[in-house]
């Protein structure tokens, strides 16, 4: 117990917790986007898949509990480390010229905040049906998607949020592997291929759906 506390209190311990929880969430997203793409195979395919997920019962709640724990740990560690980073340089530079840091890295705290807001609204919209821009049905997921995304500002919010998510994964997935020490040492450590593929897949997969609804491809 003592060791766990020391680990959590250390910066590297917190980073490893962030990396592991982040990778759990990336794993979830890959599954989530793959399932969602069934929308392109019509209402039956998607609604059967949804019924299958709802039928999982205990396992569904188990998965949700893990995700909730991951989100919580990820955010608590992120906030604490961001606070530490701010405190670590009380007097800033008059002129600072970043050389290699990517846009994704520089905006990762902001994209994280936007994703949190998005997830909250997204769950209220499609999971609980608390926010109902159009009439919500627990069983007809396909109709919820088409109805929801026909409203341009709903789609716009999803599309913008997915850009943040893509950038977050582009930096986060790559650095998570490095934080837990799972990458191979290489001549150009800043190069990332797996993270790029995952980020593009998740971003494109999720973005295609509102775009397809707006264009009338999915109706």
């Amino acid at each position: 117990m003592n060791r766990a506390r020391t680990f959590w209190r250390s910066t590297i311990g917190k980073k490893i917790v962030m990396a592991v929880t982040g990778l759990i969430m990336v794993g979830f997203l890959i599954g989530h986007v793959s399932g969602n793409l069934l929308v392109f195979r019509g209402p039956d395919a998607l609604n059967h898949y949804s019924a299958f997920l709802k039928g999982l019962g205990g396992f569904l709640w188990f998965a949700r509990a893990i995700l909730l724990a991951s989100v919580t740990l990820h955010i608590v560690a992120a906030v604490q480390l961001a606070e530490l980073a701010r405190a670590s340089r009380p007097v800033g530079y008059q002129w600072r010229d970043p050389q290699v840091s990517t846009l994704a890295a520089r905006t990762i705290r902001w994209s994280g905040a936007l994703i949190l807001l998005f997830v909250a609204l997204h769950l209220l919209h499609f999971t609980t049906g608390t926010i109902q821009p159009v009439r919500f049905s627990t069983y007809d997921v396909y109709a919820n998607i088409v109805g929801g995304f026909r409203i341009w500002w709903v789609s716009a919010f999803y599309i913008v949020s997915m850009i943040a998510l893509g950038l977050h994964i582009y930096h986060g997935a790559w650095s998570s592997f490095r934080t837990v020490g799972m990458s191979r040492p290489r001549p150009n450590p800043l190069h990332r291929s797996v993270a790029t593929v995952v980020a593009v897949f998740v971003w494109l997969g999720f973005t295609m759906i509102p775009v397809a609804v707006l264009l009338g491809v999915v109706h």
């Binding site: 910066t11 980073k15 980073a85 340089r89 010229d97 890295a105 520089r106 040492p185 450590p189």
Partner: protein
Amino acid sequence: MNLTLRVWRQAGPKAPGKLVVYEAEDISPDMSFLEMLDVVNESLTVRGKIPIAFDHDCREGICGMCGLMINGVAHGPMKGTATCQLHMRSFKDGDTIYIEPWRARAFPVIRDLTVDRTALDRIIQAGGFITAPTGGAQDANTILVSKHSADSAMDAAACIGCGACVAACPNASASLFTASKITHLGLLPQGQPERYRRALAMVGQMDLESFGACTWFGECQEACPKEISIDTIMRMNRDYLNATTRQA
């Protein structure tokens, strides 16, 4: 060459500081950056003004004493060199150059451009050493080290402790510095006895010194005059994780 300098002047650790403008005239492109500052300081001294304080020692890129933030880049625009090995030919006649000290809570300003980097010494004291056998010297090749390990260890051992990694890091993290020593000793047989204790002790001290955490921006690797790779940070994290999960 004639240059305009905007230099951070600060009389002492608690004194307020500000950028002061100086004209550096008749500078040869073959001068090093520090020689250019020497010329400016001579003219300040002649005019009865207080010269600009900056750290330097060997002036051949191996001691780690010098270190300036030049136009927002640690050690200036030349990659893989310390400030002393940067030459004025890297600038153009008429340029304005911003010169600031390393900025970190763990590196308080002593005066002008000099900062207190003893936090790095304390990290080394916490575990950056090996148990050295005493007595008669061993035969040179009794302990075998693979070429690969020797090369990688040597790359990490090249760290001169200048603190550019901290200065360049958006989080003012000392990860690259600490990881270099952990990697250097962790790759060699002589470093094995204390390997995991070292990871715990050095990382613990690094955190105590109020450096930030690594977020993999990669700026440290770019600023490092010895071009040490951020792969070393991966090794440090792995050793730290192993140290935590191992039986005591």
